[in-house]
């Protein structure tokens, strides 16, 4: 398997504080990578540097062999836990946004036949995430689960090389979360996505992922805890997932205690 995304000896430091150290990682195309780890272990920092919101202090990041610019771009889609849809646009407007930016550099709006084509594409995407009937709702009129569906549709309409999920289901009720797991698994299969998901929920990490990474500190200095950063301490490939994933949400235990 060729590596789609490759991190080579990546460090993230904030002044004295070392957050990530010596992260070496190859992520294959089509994999679903879950990242877990204790709070403050740099899960979100790792996601932010892959996303391009921050630049690593040291090290190289390659996407398809090309160095990644430390700036967000359309090759990487993202869904955050909150605030990743635009409150002033309807569901359809939110989904259209990516298409409009690409095709109309100056006005960022489409007209006539090009708009009709874009609207058709956006509606198809909304239908794929189960928001076919909610195209004209504003995010404030939607539930948390619907907003996350919209955020996913919004990202997928751009066909990103990598989809980054930052605790995307952390704020949802257990029942809704189960639906979202089914949805993301289906989309991952249908659109042949490469997904990196940060989560707090270990069960979610194992039930969705084809590979689970655990970030933690290898060394600990009790007098200067900030001088050692976290790195990948466990890297578990889950080969069984490829076939099982298509059946949808796998229930390991029925008690939903997250």
């Amino acid at each position: 398997m060729s590596a789609l995304l490759s991190l080579q000896n990546v460090w993230v430091e904030y002044g004295e504080k070392i957050v990530l150290e010596r992260v070496n990682l190859d992520i294959a195309a089509g994999s679903f990578v879950s990242i877990i780890g204790p709070s403050g272990a740099g899960k979100s920092s790792l996601l932010r540097i892959v996303l391009g919101q921050e630049a690593p202090t040291r090290g190289a990041m390659l996407l398809d062999g090309e160095p990644l610019t430390p700036e967000c771009g359309p090759d990487r889609g993202v869904v955050f836990q909150r605030y990743s849809v635009f409150p002033h646009l309807t569901a359809l407007g939110n989904t259209l946004f990516g298409l409009e930016c690409e095709q109309a550099p100056f006005s960022a709006r489409l007209f006539g036949a090009r708009r009709r084509a874009a609207v058709a594409e956006a509606r198809e995407m909304l239908a794929a995430v189960g928001l076919g009937d909610s195209a004209d709702l504003y995010p404030a009129q939607m539930s948390g689960g619907m907003q996350q569906r919209l955020a996913i549709a919004q990202a997928l309409v751009k066909r990103p090389r990598i989809l980054l999920l930052d605790e995307p289901f952390g704020a949802l009720d257990p029942g809704i979360r189960q639906d979202m797991h089914t949805l993301i698994t289906r989309l991952w299969n249908e659109y042949a996505l490469t997904v990196i998901m940060v989560t707090h929920d270990i069960r979610e990490a194992f039930s969705l992922g084809t590979r689970v990474l655990t970030l933690d500190k290898r060394r600990h200095d009790p007098h200067a805890p900030h001088r050692f950063g976290a790195t990948v301490v466990y890297d578990l490939p889950l080969s069984k997932r490829a076939s099982a994933a298509s059946t949808g949400g796998i229930t390991i235990d029925t008690v939903d205690n997250n």
Binding site: G52, C72, S84, F86, C101, A108, Y138, Q154
Partner: protein
């Protein structure tokens, strides 16, 4: 039931809100009537009849000198100055605030300048404006602009720069350039805030307008009030003040209505 939990229905609300206004009017009438009974020439608390008589002259009879209906000419002149001042301020707040809020290099360069201008008491600049622009309309409009624009710019810039980082990152992953981000993400979300800023600036704008008119003018609501003060003409001053209050309330209501109509997404889920 605890007072914090009391819900006031719409009709009840109107009734309750009217009570203090009516009480105030009644108190005034009682005082005016008693003073009028003691001294029919009392000028401090004119009775409504005297007010109506004095206002009728300003409303319907052309001025002997200029041939204008003074009340309407005053209103028109003041509203024109206010409108120009508010318009220029609003437009510059939107443009400058947006650029300042969205682009960190611009904010770093011009932020301190805007803050510096904003902390100067505008009335202290009035002499400079009179010297620079003369005593005409320009200096009055300029006073309003200098008085409220920096506040509005800072408000819009702060609002735009406080947009969630997640949204900015998301827009960029959807392919937005700086320009597209400002046009499609920052600008629409700044608009309801801009209307809010205009509402908050209305009070100061009126203060600067009346001050400028009081100091150097030959027409305008503020000019008239300060002119007739020399003759203790409370029967003109009081209706003028009430008229100014009415205009201000009407503008405020208009702004709230237009914000609700134009930007329903900014006013909760119930739209």
């Amino acid at each position: 039931m605890r007072w914090v939990n009391r819900r006031i229905r719409r009709r009840q609300g109107i009734l309750l809100g009217a009570i203090p206004l009516l009480a105030l009017a009644l108190t005034y009438l009682v005082i005016a009537a008693s003073r009028h009974a003691a001294n029919p020439n009392d000028k401090i608390f004119p009775i409504p009849g005297a007010m109506a008589e004095a206002m009728a002259r300003l409303l319907f009879e052309p001025d002997q000198l200029s041939g204008r209906l003074l009340f309407w000419a005053d209103t028109f002149a003041s509203l024109q100055r206010l409108g120009l001042g508010l318009g220029i301020s609003t437009l510059s707040a939107l443009l400058v605030g947006l650029v300042l809020g969205a682009l960190p290099p611009v904010r770093a360069t011009f932020g301190p300048l805007v803050t510096g201008i904003a902390v100067i008491p505008p009335i202290a600049l009035l002499p400079i404006l009179f010297i620079a622009f003369g005593l005409g309309e320009t200096s009055k409009v300029a006073l309003i602009v200098i008085g409220i624009a920096p506040f509005m710019i800072r408000d819009i810039a702060a609002h735009v720069s406080a947009l969630p980082q997640e949204q900015i990152a998301k827009a960029q992953t959807l392919g937005a350039s700086s320009w597209q981000l400002m046009l499609r993400v920052a600008l629409p979300q700044a608009m309801p805030r801009l209307i809010q800023a205009v509402r908050l600036s209305l009070g100061p704008a009126w203060v600067f307008l009346i001050s400028a008119e009081a100091i150097a003018s030959d027409i305008g609501l503020g000019y008239r009030i300060f002119l007739v003060r020399r003759y203790l003409s409370m029967e003109i001053i009081l209706p003028y003040v009430a008229w100014i209050a009415l205009l201000a309330v009407a503008m405020d209501i208009l702004l709230v209505r237009s914000s609700r109509r134009l930007f329903p997404w900014a006013h909760g889920a119930a739209h």
